[in-house]
């Protein structure tokens, strides 16, 4: 089986991104988003996923890395710059992986890695 990996810019989520993503997820595509999703975005993604579940699509596996959390050694100035950037872009530094549950058994999070266990 062929599995495609597709990069989704975070900005696309604000448009009709979730519906587009689910369209791709149903076609065995793994989605990579260049940010950590906010709680309300995760909830919206779960809601939309539920609306799409069928005998051919059992849902999703998702996990994300929060890259702001690994910046503990940063200088105060760098932390402020990061926060200002996040405030201005509305985007939380990180990475989100979303895959169809029919092909991904589990996404395991190590401190700096995301490990995909395939079925």
């Amino acid at each position: 089986m062929d599995v495609k990996i597709k990069l989704y810019p975070y900005e696309k989520l604000k448009e009709d991104g979730i519906k587009d993503m689910l369209h791709d997820l149903k076609k065995n595509t793994i989605i990579m988003i260049d940010a950590k999703l906010k709680p309300d975005e995760e909830a919206k993604l779960i809601e939309e996923t539920m609306k799409n579940i069928s005998t051919n699509f059992s849902g999703i596996e998702l996990d994300s890395l929060d890259l702001t959390a690994s910046d503990e050694n940063d200088t105060v100035l760098k932390k402020i710059k990061t926060q200002i950037l996040e405030f201005l872009t509305g985007k939380k530094r990180g990475l989100t992986l979303i895959g169809p549950a029919d092909i991904i058994k589990k996404i395991e999070k190590k401190p700096d890695d995301l490990l995909l266990h395939m079925r």
Partner: protein
């Protein structure tokens, strides 16, 4: 000067009425968590302890609760104080629902498909009801790895809404359970270890509710 006094009086009256309203208001206590973590068992334990009757049916097959179940006017007493709740048992939140899992649980194909369909609606309902809650117990199965996206999403959404949360490490009657793993995973939250099934440590849970609310 007069305006300032009037404004002050208005604020004090507003604050007093706010407190009075809050005191008399029935607190909506939501029971959230992933499927099969013991939400309905705990809802039943709470309702049996304080009302003498159960709220929900329970089952080993996941997604037994597929609709919101509410029991109003549950009055909990502790040291002469009373709290009045609506206990809201919610369907388990999940990112995937495979009807074939229900076949393994012994259901026939049409039943399994129907259950899966209802379960998806239940997840959507649970998420929608988050906004209505005054406080939430997040019930986690202490035999399972607590670090997963569903738990993180539930807690993140509650935090974003400013809803008070207690994490319940359930199923401590089972040998492989660990409340410590849940405490380590979510150190910023108060975690109470219980067995809803065996009614172990539920007294501590009731006491904690008075501290949180």
């Amino acid at each position: 000067m007069v305006t300032k006094h009037l404004k002050n009086l208005h604020n004090r009256l507003k604050s007093f009425l706010g407190k009075l309203f809050k005191r008399n208001k029935e607190i909506k206590l939501g029971l959230y968590g992933p499927p099969n973590s013991g939400k309905s068992t705990l809802a039943n334990t709470i309702c049996m302890d304080w009302l003498g009757k159960e709220l929900s049916t329970t089952s080993e097959i996941p997604h037994e609760t597929r609709e919101i179940q509410t029991k109003e006017n549950v009055i909990i007493e502790n040291n002469g104080k009373k709290l009045t709740f609506s206990v809201v048992d919610t369907p388990g939140i999940a990112t995937k629902i495979d009807f074939e899992d229900f076949l393994k649980g012994g259901l026939k194909r049409p039943e399994a498909k129907e259950r899966a369909k209802e379960a998806t609606k239940g997840v959507i309902e649970s998420i929608k009801w988050l906004d209505k809650m005054d406080a939430v117990l997040v019930i986690l199965d202490a035999t399972k790895d607590p670090i997963n996206q569903v738990n993180i999403t539930i807690l993140g959404n509650l935090e974003a809404r400013g809803i008070p949360v207690l994490i319940i490490a359930n199923k401590l009657d089972l040998k492989e359970s660990s409340a410590t793993a849940i405490r380590s995973a979510f150190p910023q939250y108060e975690v109470i270890g219980i067995s809803a099934k065996e009614k172990h440590n539920t007294e501590q849970l009731y006491q904690k509710l008075f501290e949180v609310l």
